[in-house]
């Protein structure tokens, strides 16, 4: 079973603080690790993604840190803003048993940034 475990389930951060969401995977065949952001009543949208050949990727206030040996990756949101309040999903992509590539999603983290 290709699982992706995500924590915490919910996170409350003060405005200006750092939000950190962690994910762990088991299958080393995963080779693509995106993060999706979902606002209430909307579908998820790609936020940032990383490949396993780099240890970090930064886009504005959002950074993915990747630890291949530990099979873990995390999302860091610097200077968190109330507008960042949303549900965040990590995911891992790979191809298994000859089937088409699929994304396996974590269980989600509901982030609330207090003003």
């Amino acid at each position: 079973q290709q699982q992706v475990k995500q924590s915490p389930q919910s996170l409350i951060v003060q405005k200006g603080g750092i939000s950190i969401i962690n994910c762990a995977y088991e299958n080393t065949a995963f080779d693509y690790f995106p993060w999706y952001q979902q606002f209430p009543g909307k579908g998820p949208a790609l936020l940032i993604a990383i490949r396993p050949d780099v240890s970090e990727k930064k886009e504005g206030r959002f950074t993915i840190s990747f630890n291949k040996s530990a099979k873990q990756f995390s999302l860091h949101i610097m200077d968190s803003q109330p507008g960042d309040s949303a549900t965040y999903f990590c995911a891992a992509g790979g191809s298994f048993s000859g089937s088409a590539r699929q994304l396996t999603f974590g269980s989600g983290t509901q982030l609330t940034v207090l003003p």
């Binding site: 995500q6 389930q9 080779d31 693509y32 995106p34 999706y36 009543g41 909307k42 579908g43 998820p44 949208a45 790609l46 993604a49 490949r51 999903f89 992509g93 790979g94 191809s95 089937s99 088409a100 590539r101 699929q102 994304l103 396996t104 999603f105 974590g106 269980s107 989600g108």
Partner: protein, 116 residues
């Protein structure tokens, strides 16, 4: 830009009734997917399609059927709805499947289904 459009957005069914959710995309994407989202369980893949006329099972396919008669449309059917199928259903499409090169999933806004 319409992107991915799902209809209907809300539906209430009684146990045993049938229904079809329609997904349409205007991005000429080859791959289309149906996910269900439940609290604490993230997004789980129901069925997916790698092209017109093809479908495949995902992680939780039981109780659902799909069809992809046209490249731009992907239909999800429930033949005999059960309360366990109460969920929010998301359709998505991508140019390629789940990979680092243009593998971005574009999601619709969801269809909330309640089965009584």
């Amino acid at each position: 830009n319409a992107g991915v459009t799902q209809t209907p957005k809300f539906r209430v069914l009684k146990t045993g009734q049938s229904m079809t959710l329609l997904c349409a995309q205007d991005m000429n994407h080859e791959y289309m997917y149906w996910y269900r989202q439940d609290p604490g369980m993230g997004l789980r893949l129901i069925h997916y399609s790698v092209g017109e006329g093809t479908t495949a099972k995902g992680e939780v396919p039981d109780g659902y059927n799909v069809s992809r008669l046209k490249k731009q449309n992907f239909l999800l059917g429930l033949e005999s709805a059960a309360p366990s199928q109460t969920s929010v259903y998301f359709c998505a499409s991508s140019y390629v499947a789940g990979g680092p090169e243009t593998g971005e999933l574009f999601f619709g806004e969801g269809s909330r289904l309640t089965v009584l």
